[in-house]
Symmetry: C2
Subunit: 164 residues, 2 copies
């Protein structure tokens, strides 16, 4: 969780005044990278709040969605799909299993691997989170405007795919 960000600062007398002076962000203010980060952090935190009301967090949401959409997915696949190392996923899956949201079954044809599936409780939690996500999306839609949304998402996708 993150502190609310404020652009104003108090008690700033470095330019010989006694009143508050806004901080100068310099070139940061006009750069895509910086604004991308600020927008993502704000959006992420807002969704964290919605998720917390369900007792979950945004990362769990992505994991549950991927498992729900790809029944029987194996951990290595899941790790590739979410762009995280498989070792990063171990504690996440462990937590979901422990809380009864996901079940693991050994694969008969390859006994090294597990298949992951949502349990009934997992589906229920995913449904709750999906509802929260839709609400969050409606907030974002309101800000972006329906006309620009498609192009906006397309640009984000191209950044993720093409940046080097």
């Amino acid at each position: 969780m993150r502190k609310g960000k404020s652009t104003k600062v108090d008690g700033d007398d470095r330019i010989g005044e006694t009143g508050a002076t806004p901080t100068d962000f310099g070139p940061l203010a006009t750069w895509v990278g910086f604004n991308l980060r600020m927008a993502q952090e704000a959006s992420f935190e807002a969704f964290s709040h919605h998720s917390a009301a369900i007792g979950e967090n945004p990362g769990r949401f992505a994991t549950l969605t991927l498992i729900g959409r790809n029944p029987g997915i194996r951990q290595t696949e899941l790790s590739a799909a979410s762009g995280r190392d498989k070792s990063s996923l171990t504690p996440v899956v462990e937590d979901l299993v422990r809380r009864g949201l996901v079940e693991r079954k050994r694969v008969d044809s390859d006994r090294r691997a597990y298949r992951l599936n949502l349990t009934a409780a997992g589906r229920k939690t995913l449904a709750l989170m999906t509802r929260a996500a839709r609400k969050h999306e409606r907030n974002l839609d309101r800000i972006i405007g329906p006309r620009d949304k498609k192009r906006f998402i397309d640009t984000l996708k191209r950044i993720a795919a093409e940046i080097e």
Copy 2:
């Protein structure tokens, strides 16, 4: 640092086939929040690479820029401007001072506080990072397209400011 993300997964036989099957991202694929995160991570990682070539990281860049643009800024102001708790900033500033990029001076009129300024070495490092950032921005510009850039940044700013 993060693994490259791949959408394809291998060895997926969960739907009775032997060939590779793309993972289904379900509603994630069309949601702003998710794509915002993916784009930000990709952009951040790309800039991390550029920064690493200078021996720095993106977080240091923002801090150095804020100090450079606001000479004599105090740590509490800096923490407000960057949206982080003051205690999170202590080790960052300590590191910058230790490496000779930033200097701290006690404020005469308020001996609890410090003022932060870049040293000559700090200005030099900031100049190098700024150059790397410009290169990174040119990559982003190429992807976004000059026509859409202004609107894209404006949308990001509004998300950061208005999301709840």
